[in-house]
Assembly symmetry: C2
Homo-oligomer: 450 residues x 2
């Protein structure tokens, strides 16, 4: 496993000027993969500044050396999704990123040739409709922030707010793959059963909507059924990462939850559409925060030398909230969460090793969410439930509005930034969603005896 | 919605004699759909007696009227899975079953023509390798037997063994789609973390393996994202049913479970490979068991006239256990569970309506498990945990062996039979799996402080 990605030359610049802005999410050192619709066709691409390289157009351009690993990668990515490319492992996507870096760098010999084909090759991101980057077979969501878990345990009044298994294994549940959607657009408030303030069980538009700021790993090549992935190989199975907003209807969740979250989560989960590759993030690797002295020792199948040294990331993550009133007044969003990946107790490699330790097969395109990345600091609380101490201390916005949950019209934008001295900082793009009012269907609020 | 399927003529017989045996699972009145491998090719088919009609061969045979609904269905089913056919709704699969019934009936005018092509058209089931009938997007598993739920609540020592939500909504969790497998072959004992008898947390081959006897519904055409399926339309979205064995490693489950079952279930779930269509089961419809007088009234979105009258099935279900010692002695399996679909508190239509009530989209090929179908009677306990009163009363086999959990070499076969006077009884085929010893990988049993 290479610790530093050869395409990360911090001096390199692109002749696409928007990639060179200091706050650009997609400088030439990033080159994340995504899928989109263009002229009614589903395609895949690589982001550079405010543009995207259309990979089918690139395949047909003659710009990539025939028969090379990059050309094979380009061919695999010329369908509607990235699954085929992701399944090939990092060698091919890495070769394609390296070839693109050569074509897009300031002093690229091919620059004029690329520019001649720019209309086909390089649409602007704001002219395409981004889609989920791949077909997701299964989506699993973990619970790996100790702070998030402890706070929720305290809200429930538990004597020991941390579940006994928390420090022995990364707790998780199976999520719903069908309702994953790419960033953007409306998040429809769901109907559901819940207890109202009087304790009555009712069915209607669900109150207590919340966001959850997460990072999620995309599986590249998977494992054979019954064959666990050893911790030392786990990083190689992760193609890359996106932001995940695991929207939650807490009212539904509190009432329904016996075997874990179900309808309280499955109405919508938003994913940032660009997969920032594990390769692009390699320069930002760091050791995970060490376990406390009195924590139980790591079991062998969760303990890997590379993972212990480089299983974390220098990655800051943010959540911004805007409301209808703020937007109507022309005011920008309010930053409500500033957190860091260091707030995870478990690494993604540990999640992969644990997930497959029983022989469960991960498949290309599977998504593994980190769980809400809350930290110990008040500013690092990564959902409204925590930001308001379970509703006791409403969130106060600059315009006087208060929130204990998301209201219709509220919009959450997640973002993240990998930063390390000596490296060019890279971002993830945004994970955006705005709460839309519940549909009128099946919406009668009908009371039954509790 | 037609209450009785026009292809169910109880007098009709097939010229394929194995379909006419009194205990045949697949008489001409059944005609279930499945997928299989034949000469290295993935195909789909329809079972009749001990044979299967190869649907790609049927398409190419000239036996189905060109342009008819049956021909369109046949074309849709000529790929590797049934997804395309299932998505078309019951009209097309129904037309194909009707056309097959005409070709296979004793006095079929085309009989000689079919028989001439029998080698291509009608392989024996024991000469093909059955596969999962379709690609499964998401698999959800419910908890709808009151008896199963209450017993487990009592084992845990709960004051109120039934969760508060149980009678308000069908409780469920998201399952793992990747580890679903067609009936047959080995079920590898998983590794996992669990507490041993001394309370130590250990990692190793998981003890306390159990089976769970379930029925599962396959979704035909799905619903649009954010658009719930009304209870009155729910039955039309169910293409058919299979048996499901939700193998469980209770030792893993008890320790890991915070957000529901995860690795304790995701190592393997077995499905009987034939989809018995909702249409074939129509003659066996019955009213579900009425709710008790003092149960909370059904909410409107879970209350449908058709469902209240015909949402149940005259369906008996069985589990048989054999062990290595029994087989070595030439003894047959022991029937350990005799239960009935009446033991479900919720209907499948209610599961569909509930699942989509928050706007979650069900997709063609999604699988909805009923949960363990245990009844009040001791004989109707549908997992070993219940059969042994959580290990207190070991299961005693005729040869003197005892069980409190499944041991390596133990084999479970699930079966079911729909029966009603005036109708020809139909079955599901078997859902079989045999426990294989844990792999040696990652198998060190390593103790850490509890």
């Amino acid at each position: 496993m290479t610790a530093l990605n050869f395409t990360h030359d911090p001096v390199r610049r692109s002749w696409i000027e928007s990639a060179n802005l200091p706050d650009a999410d997609f400088p030439i050192q990033n080159l994340p993969f995504g899928a989109f619709e263009r002229n009614g066709e589903a395609r895949t691409g690589v982001a550079i500044g405010e543009h995207v390289v259309d990979l089918r157009a690139l395949r047909d351009s003659g710009l990539v050396e025939a028969g090379s690993d990059a050309a094979l990668a380009c061919e695999a990515a010329s369908g509607a999704t990235l699954n085929r490319l992701m399944a090939m492992g990092p060698r091919y996507s890495g070769a394609l990123r390296a070839a693109l870096s050569e074509l897009l760098k300031s002093d690229a010999p091919q620059r004029a040739n690329v520019q001649r084909q720019a209309e086909a090759l390089l649409p602007r991101i704001d002219e395409i409709a981004l889609r989920l980057p791949c077909e997701v077979g299964d989506y699993s969501d973990f619970l790996t922030s100790l702070h998030h878990t402890e706070r929720h345990g305290r809200y429930k009044g538990l004597a020991d707010p941390l579940p006994p298994a928390f420090k022995s294994l990364p707790i998780a549940y199976h999520g719903r793959a069908s309702s994953l959607r790419a960033s953007g657009g409306e998040v429809r408030r769901p109907h559901g059963q819940y207890r109202d303030a009087s304790g009555q069980i009712v069915f209607g538009p669900a109150p207590a909507l919340d966001f959850e700021l997460e990072l999620a790993a995309w599986i590249g090549h998977g494992n054979a059924f019954t064959q666990p992935i050893p911790i030392d190989a786990a990083h190689e199975h992760i193609f890359g990462y996106s932001l995940l907003n695991d929207w939650s209807a807490k009212s539904i969740q509190w009432f329904e939850q016996v075997l874990g979250p179900f309808l309280g989560k499955s109405f919508h989960s938003s994913v940032s559409p660009w997969i920032v590759t594990a390769e692009a993030l390699a320069p930002f690797r760091k050791a995970p925060v060490p376990r406390a002295q009195d924590d139980p020792p790591l079991m062998p199948h969760l303990r890997g030398a590379f993972d212990q040294q480089q299983g974390g990331l220098h990655l800051a993550l943010y959540a911004d909230l805007s409301t209808s009133r703020l937007r109507d007044a022309g005011a920008g969003p309010v930053r409500i969460t500033r957190t860091h990946l260091d707030n995870l107790y478990w690494t993604f490699a540990q999640m992969v090793a644990h997930h497959t330790s029983n022989g469960c097969d991960l498949r290309t395109g599977d998504l593994l969410g980190s769980g809400t990345i809350s930290g110990a600091d008040d500013a690092a609380r990564a959902c409204i439930t925590e930001l308001t101490n379970a509703g006791k201390d409403p969130l106060r916005l600059p315009n006087g509005e208060t929130r204990t949950a998301l209201e219709d019209g509220d919009e959450i934008v997640l973002s993240a930034r990998a930063t390390k001295s000596g490296a060019v900082s890279i971002g993830f793009g945004e994970c955006r969603g705005r709460i839309a009012p519940a549909l009128a269907v099946a919406g009668r609020r009908e009371e039954i005896a509790a």
